[in-house]
């Protein structure tokens, strides 16, 4: 089933030669490449995202040292050249290596958290929107309740119960994102359900499950994709906040957030320990946001201002 869904979606994205029976909304990829050609915002966004992703993937190759090794002089200011271009931290660890490995972990946390929210939220919205009636009421009341639990609260509870770990921010941020995805999917399903190709599929006796995942979902992909991008940006910021507060990853796990936490006590003496990881977060999140905004323009999705 999943593989069929992926097939349908990718066909829709690439506009493959095999057109779908009742397909509509052709060719998201083509629309995006058109925007990419003339929109400066999209170009900058995509470049940043690409560079940061490459750094994350090839972290062991790029980082000059082991991010955990404490064998260097303590709190050396950045020189931008030489042995420690970005300086060292209060334990004598190379900041550049830590930032590079931080990219890997921070992106992983962000993407996993959003994946968590999507995997639960999208089916909820799909069922609620398609079945309507009491299913809709039940699922949407659940979603409304979740809305009252921001990531901060869930992280507090998770840390109190489970202690710090990389799973805490993933779970807390992901959980807080479920309602966004559920609501957006439901809204989209409600309008697609009335489209003619859905009615046509119903009239030829296609099963509900098949209609939901093969007719409706692929056509609701655009706003979900936009939400995914914007949520990833938000998730990276939230991870930073949670880890900074000490209710995220363990202090020894070098995400960008935990690097910032280590700088907390030395703002006046060693500004670079706080400033550099923050700057990297800003550039990355900026890139993802620009990218998401370009997607939004390309797919003509309304700004929801969702968190």
């Amino acid at each position: 089933m999943i593989s069929r869904l992926i097939n349908t979606v990718s066909r829709r994205l690439t506009g493959g030669s095999e057109t779908h029976l009742f397909g509509i909304r052709s060719n998201l990829l083509e629309r995006f490449s058109r925007i990419l050609k003339r929109d400066r915002k999209a170009q900058v966004g995509l470049s940043i995202v690409a560079v940061v992703s490459l750094i994350a993937i090839f972290a062991p190759v790029i980082a000059p040292y082991d991010p955990m090794s404490q064998n260097f002089p303590v709190m050396q200011p950045p020189t931008f050249t030489g042995a420690h271009p970005l300086g060292t931290d209060s334990f004598g660890r190379d900041l550049l290596s830590r930032v590079v490995f931080g990219a890997r972990l921070s992106l992983a946390v962000g993407l996993s958290a959003v994946a968590f929210g999507t995997l639960i939220g999208v089916p909820m919205g799909l069922y609620a929107g398609y079945y309507g009636g009491w299913v809709d009421d039940l699922l949407m009341r659940m979603v409304d309740t979740m809305w009252a639990f921001p990531a901060l609260l869930i992280a507090i509870l998770a840390v109190a119960i489970h202690g710090q770990s990389i799973w805490v921010p993933i779970f807390a941020i992901g959980f807080a994102l479920i309602d966004d995805f559920a609501r957006i999917t439901r809204g989209e399903v409600l309008s697609i359900r009335e489209e003619e190709y859905t009615l046509a599929a119903e009239s030829i006796g296609m099963g509900k499950f098949k209609i939901m995942f093969e007719e409706i979902l692929p056509n609701a992909v655009a706003p979900i994709l936009v939400q995914y991008t914007v949520s990833t940006a938000r998730a990276i910021l939230t991870e930073a906040t949670l880890s900074f507060l000490g209710i995220g990853v363990k202090i020894t796990t070098p995400t960008w957030g935990s690097l910032l936490r280590q700088g907390r006590g030395f703002i006046q003496q060693a500004w670079w320990i706080s400033i550099i990881p923050g700057l990297i977060i800003m550039i990355t999140v900026l890139g993802i946001n620009l990218f998401g905004d370009a997607l939004r323009d390309a797919f003509d999705v309304k700004e929801s201002g969702g968190t």
Binding site: P150, L245, S274
Partner: protein
Amino acid sequence: MNLDEPVHVQYINWMTDITQGDLGTSFFSNQPVLEMIVGVIEPTLSIGTLGMLIAVSIALPAGIISALRRYQPEDYVATILAFLGLSMPEFWIGILLVLVFATTPIPIYGYTAISQGLVSWLSHIILPAIAVGVPYGAILMRMVRSSMLEVMSEDYVRTARAKGLDENLVVFKHGLQNALIPVVTVAGILFAVLLGGVVAVELVFGVSGFGRLLIGSIQRRDFPVIQGSVITISFLFVGMNLVIDFVYTLINPQIRYGGES
């Protein structure tokens, strides 16, 4: 603590206590939790409220100008600043402010209560409030912009022009209120996120507020305080939603009179 009672009895006892304002006592200091929270809530609410105020007062004018001057230099500048603003963690903006204002008379550490003088109070919370206000101002600004753009292409705006009203009246008398309806909803959602921001910013500026109490109690595993704090956050959240609902009803007559017709 009646740990020998069955769980449901414990739960009922606990609920009864809460409704009577008894959130238990701290493992650590033996103080009543409610008292501890009331003692630290003022700085947090001060920073949060001023932060929201700053966010709104940046977002409204910037968003409106950006929409009315779409694709002109003002719009580009506002858009770039907004994207930068919403790409920074608020506590990190706090850190930048600490570094920048370290050598100025504006205090970068601590808090003085409002009862000890308005000026001193304001000078202590202004930087933390800016730190939390900027990212939310940026998000709100983007919302105001897109909402305003949508409203300005509505038929009733064209009607207002056809009546011979000048552009200022078209925008502010006929457009603004309609544009604010969706913005108010989003502002409510953002308040939840803003609260998390205040907690982190308090740590940067050494403000002994709710955030510090909360983080401290997590580190000390002081469960009654953690529990009390979570309940407090939920209450703030629900309270804020009531306020938003009230404002929403005020500016949207279709809700106000919905039941009648």
